[in-house]
Symmetry: C2
Subunit: 152 residues, 2 copies
DNA sequence: GTAGGATTGATACTTGGTATCAGGAGCCAT
DNA sequence: ATGGCTCCTGATACCAAGTATCAATCCTAC
């Protein structure tokens, strides 16, 4: 079963209708690179390749929001403060973002849970979510530009 | 030496001018509750109490940005995806946000560094920053509303 | 097929933030 | 204290991301 069918199934299960517009947004989302904005998706639904009418801006935003609710997408926070979107394949995970090339890696193995549990105890909070983003430079970018030591 | 004087000193050290407008923004920032938006600050500079002309919107944004650069303020990401600002007294730290009452606690003691170092090794990244926000309910809010178990 | 609620898309609006640029205020040297 | 240079300001316009509205249209169950 393909990605898109799985997502459509999830929509149906939650009682959402599977409309042409939603299909078009889904197609466009699946064709995106690692992370994207809603306008990237909008543009993609309007690309010459795609047949059929383009989807409306409001619908694109609504569909992305719906996909967030269904955990099909997740938000990622870039280090300049902008929010992008990204397919959320696995469940809970975090992002490792390369500042230079913008690539994003998911990670789950690096476990924050113990930290969070300890924090909950110390602060007497009941903790139900957390968000961790890590920024750096990936191997390829490090290799390609060796900056002199001491540079900002 | 008061908070405001310390901040002004920091401005001067970095070669920024200490203008009336910046003072007014600083006053307003220091009078804010735990976290705030730029418009909160802007409104505060226009409050009837304050004498003198109100600061312009652009200036408020510029000053906040400057304070971010000087590490006087930091951004916090609320769980609805909006960015707020907050006085950043200590250096690097994270936020624990109560979903109900919106209070924010800083924490540093709960150390993410080892996690990040391990991640760097595993992924072959050079990591230079991270961002962690934790969401939950504080003790007071838990006590005041005991929801039945199983409610989403 | 059809009814009726869910969805759409055009449009207008909101929010948060930046660019521009003429004029004003700080700061330094004198 | 007076220039004078530069940085800063604020009005305004703009931009990007996202939401509200609402009549028209589409899905789905029947």
């Amino acid at each position: 079963m393909s990605d898109i069918d799985l997502i459509i199934q999830r929509l149906e299960l939650r009682g959402h209708r599977v409309t042409q517009s939603r299909r078009r947004v889904l197609d466009a989302v699946l064709a995106q690179p690692a992370h994207f904005t809603v306008d990237d998706v909008l543009r993609a639904t309007r690309a010459p390749r795609r047949r059929g009418p383009p989807v409306g801006r409001a619908t694109a935003f609504r569909t992305i929001r719906l996909l967030l609710d269904l955990n099909v997408l997740c938000r990622i926070l870039l280090d300049d403060g902008t929010l992008h979107y990204r397919l959320s394949t696995r469940g809970h995970h975090h992002h490792l973002v390369c500042r230079d090339c913008g690539r994003v890696e998911d990670f789950t193995q690096c476990d924050v849970e113990p930290l969070v549990r300890e924090l909950a105890k110390a602060m007497k909070y009941e903790i139900d979510a957390h968000w961790l983003e890590v920024y750096g430079r990936c191997r390829a970018c490090r290799r390609s530009t060796k900056e002199p030591a001491g540079a900002r």
